[in-house]
């Protein structure tokens, strides 16, 4: 192995493992950033118009007398939503674990296009810089919501300055990076699987990441086109999405943007959660020492959801005055998704059934996904129904629903993945005690926060409002809003513990053995540090990824590279 300079090795590296780690640090930074914004949001919702205390960095609001002003609040949730979805979850789950796991788990030496992979990360990085810079614009960052509906997001909509244009630009760049990643992941899985690694022998994590990439490949181009049109409207003054008074000389249609946005936007939520479904299915098997229940059925269900997810976007638009035909069609198609969802959900329980459960930290995070995704998924049904959505649309109920699916399920999936693969990435174990404290603290407070969001939503509180006490019918909810905020602050404190644990374990954690979890998949077959090129010799794969407790083996696991002789 020839030695490489620091720049080639750690910065502009083409090694998928290094790029994966870069994505991980990048994502964690934005997770904290967006999470901090959530704390400020919660402060405002509980104590509208009261000065932000010093321990929430009140000095940030010196210009407005220590309080968050309405514009500032709108910027907060816009940036919070955008950052969490595109710059925190996407890099952590798809960028970091997609990069790290796909080649290792299928037995490849690297991605199919390593240089493209590096460019993808640096484009992503650039998009993040543009996004961060937009916070320093004289008129402030974007404040049109993460959905950025025109005409509000256009110059005539009343948001001053270039914030919206920066938002559009950075999301477009992010999309370009995601598309490069998608090409890489898809082709890698198609082409670079080790001998014997058939599709039906891939770990479910790879299935999830691969399906995610397919969705990315199909739908990110759609939003890219939409964003290009939006950007032209914002900067050049074309009129795709303006109508009514603002459209001098005949205009376009704001509904077109909503369609384009949600044609992408709905698949996007599955883009975020599919890796987690895969990872959870795998980890449940590992920590139950039992093959994943209904492996094939689970991957077929995930694929079915991929197909269905592309034809249900209209359920975000029930109140726009949609035609009865479309309304009914979208409702029916949306509800269909609960069939494959409940099937693989049932399979998760099936994996636990008669297993031998080891409650290591990754398992705790994983099992909690069953809880939070159950709640998040089931509450999707209220939204999917046209009549109940007429009431619940744009209320905190929807916010609660998607924090259960996104901020809870996806986040716990991410925590599980980090805890599980930390020894592979960094050669050390994440401290189990701190992990367990973090788990319990997060699990309890998170439920208090997000369940009660649904409670206030059901009680009528609409979303994106600066000051709920403006309305009489929301005044009985004031106490609950304060309670949610305290729960959220405690939740935030536990994340500080997590950050500490992460950094501490990085330098001081117990040095890990090669395969501490006794897992069967290929990434655990080589010693740390894994060299550039991963495998000395490309391994031969003999069986599926979940051979645990096979009676024909002496130990309770059989690596995929070891042939099992039936007795």
């Amino acid at each position: 192995m020839h030695s490489e300079s620091f720049w080639r090795k750690d910065i502009f590296s083409t090694d998928h493992k290094t790029i994966g780690k870069q994505f991980l640090f990048f994502g964690i930074f934005f997770l904290l950033f967006g999470g901090f914004q959530a704390m400020l949001l919660r402060w405002q919702l509980a104590y509208p118009g009261q000065p932000v205390p010093w321990w929430l960095m009140g000095f940030l609001y010196e210009g407005t007398g220590g309080i968050i002003d309405p514009d500032g609040f709108n910027r907060l949730f816009t940036m919070h939503g955008t950052i969490m979805i595109f710059w925190a979850i996407t890099p952590i789950l798809i960028g970091a674990f997609g990069n790290f796991l796909i080649p290792l788990q299928i037995g490849a030496r690297d991605m199919a296009f390593p240089t493209l992979n590096m460019i993808s990360f640096w484009t992503f990085f650039l998009s993040g810089v543009v996004l961060l810079l937009s916070h320093f614009l004289p008129a402030g960052s974007a404040s049109g919501g993460w959905t950025s509906y025109p005409p509000l997001s256009l110059p005539g909509g009343g948001i001053p300055g270039l914030g919206q244009a920066f938002w559009t630009l950075s999301v477009t760049l992010m999309g370009a990076a995601t598309m490069m990643g998608a090409i890489n992941y898809i082709i890698t899985v198609i082409r670079l699987r080790a001998p014997g690694m058939t599709y039906w022998r891939m770990p479910l994590s790879v299935w999830g990441l691969w399906l995610t990439s397919i969705l990315n490949a199909i739908f990110v181009p759609v939003i890219a086109a939409g964003l290009i049109m939006l950007l032209l409207d914002q900067l050049l003054g074309t009129q795709f999405f303006v109508a009514g008074r603002l459209a001098a000389g005949g205009g376009g249609d704001p509904l077109l943007f909503q369609h384009v946005f949600w044609i992408f936007g709905h698949p996007e939520v599955y883009i975020l959660i599919l890796p987690v479904w895969g990872i959870v299915s795998d980890l449940l098997a590992i920590y139950s020492r039992k093959p994943a229940f209904g492996y094939k059925v689970t991957s077929i269900c995930m694929s079915t959801i991929v197909v269905l997810s592309s034809i249900v976007w209209g359920h975000h638009m029930y109140t726009t005055g949609m035609s009865p035909l479309l309304g009914k069609a979208f409702m029916f198609l949306t509800l269909l998704i609960s069939i494959p969802s409940s099937i693989f959900f049932f399979n998760w329980l099936g994996t636990l059934w008669r297993g031998s459960l080891h409650f290591d930290p990754p398992m705790l995070y994983t099992m909690s996904v069953i809880w939070v995704f159950g709640l998040g998924g089931l509450t999707g049904l209220y939204n999917a129904t046209v009549t109940s959505d007429i009431y619940l649309h744009d209320t905190m109920f929807v916010v609660g629903h998607f924090h259960y699916t996104l901020a809870a399920s996806v986040l716990f999936g991410g925590f599980a993945a980090i805890a599980h693969w930390f020894p592979r990435m960094f050669g050390r174990m994440l401290n189990p005690l701190m992990s367990k404290i973090h788990f319990w603290g997060t699990f309890i407070t998170l439920n208090l926060v997000f369940f009660n969001m649904m409670v206030v939503g059901y009680a009528g509180q609409h979303r994106r409002i600066y000051n709920p006490s403006e309305y009489e019918f929301l005044q009985p909810l004031a106490d609950m809003n304060v309670f949610i905020t305290y729960a959220a602050l405690v939740l935030g404190l536990f994340q500080i513990l997590y950050l500490f644990n992460f950094v501490w374990s990085l330098v001081k954690g117990k040095v890990a053995e090669t395969n501490p979890w006794r897992a069967t998949t290929l990434e655990w077959t080589m010693d740390y540090p894994i060299p550039h090129g991963n495998f000395g010799e490309i391994p031969q794969v003999y069986h599926g990824p979940h051979e645990y407790s096979n009676p024909n083996t002496d130990q309770d696991w059989a690596p995929q590279t070891v042939e099992i002789k039936s007795s």
């Binding site: 039992k290 093959p291 609960s338 329980l349 509450t379 129904t385 009549t387 409002i465 709920p468």
Partner: protein
């Protein structure tokens, strides 16, 4: 449905929604209550299963896992049956309820003489309302436009609303009626409802529309037929012409009608 209510006093979302004073709001509450009931049931099953597995199959109690891929025919049948059970016990039921409600109520616009028609045109950040006046035609000189954010309706009378907007998208949200409808520039949308009780209620804007979205509030007064008539009678009819000039509608060429449009017939 009464039985379900008894099972779940107050529902699972322990804070009550605003009082329902509408003719059809109960339909929405009913769908939600049914969904509450079944998802609680399923979620309870999940939690019980989880707790049982943790207690029974933890590695201390069950050091040896059974080797089972769950890929036999019986497993397949079981899982698919589970999926279909969820689908038929939740989805099909709420879908049927919802379709029925839409057909009978929400998408079934009342027509005829005793309907009160109102045009709503939100702007950043206020609500404008317009009543047709004596001649029952909009865009004529006897239209009545109360001051901003003030809306009155008679009780027990169907109200049909048509909306468009002056600038960005807003959403006309009546928590006490369980409904909302977006107002989008360049198009006219519609909704209808009927109040069953008199009183003062709030109108909110449910779609982000700028920095004062949070206080884009209207006041809805539901009153008896006579009170409503005398309230309408006490207002000066607005000369449409001048007012349109104020809005600048006629200065910009090619601007579609967005205020005082001739009432568009409903499908």
């Amino acid at each position: 449905m009464g039985k379900i209510k008894k099972l779940l006093p107050g529902g699972i979302w322990f804070l009550d929604p605003p009082k329902d004073i509408s003719l059809d709001g109960y339909r929405i509450d009913k769908v939600i209550q049914y969904t509450d009931f079944v998802i609680t049931l399923y979620f309870a099953i999940v939690v019980i299963a989880l707790v049982f597995f943790i207690w029974r199959y933890n590695s201390r109690k069950n050091p040896k896992a059974s080797y089972d891929h769950g890929n036999q025919k019986k497993h397949l049948i079981m899982t698919v049956a589970m999926g279909l059970l969820v689908f038929f016990s939740i989805d099909v039921v709420i879908e049927t309820m919802s379709f029925k409600d839409l057909k009978e109520a929400f998408w079934n616009f009342p027509k005829g003489k005793d309907v009160v028609r109102i045009e709503v045109m939100p702007q950043q950040y206020a609500w404008n309302f317009r009543y047709a006046g004596e001649d029952e035609l909009f865009g004529t000189d006897d239209d009545i436009v109360p001051s901003q954010n003030i809306m009155h309706i008679p009780v027990n009378t169907p109200i049909v609303i048509q909306l468009t907007t002056y600038d960005v998208i807003h959403s006309f949200y009546l928590p006490n009626f369980r409904i909302k409808q977006d107002a989008t520039p360049g198009m006219v949308t519609a909704m209808w409802f009927q109040a069953m009780e008199t009183g003062q209620y709030e109108i909110a804007c449910a779609e982000l529309c700028g920095n004062s979205h949070f206080k884009m509030k209207g006041y809805l007064t539901v009153e008896s037929e006579e009170d409503f008539d005398s309230w309408l009678g006490s207002l000066e009819p607005e000369g449409t012409k001048d007012e349109l000039d104020d809005w600048g509608a006629e200065e910009v060429e090619g601007v579609p009608e967005f205020w005082a449009w001739a009432w568009k017939e409903l499908k």
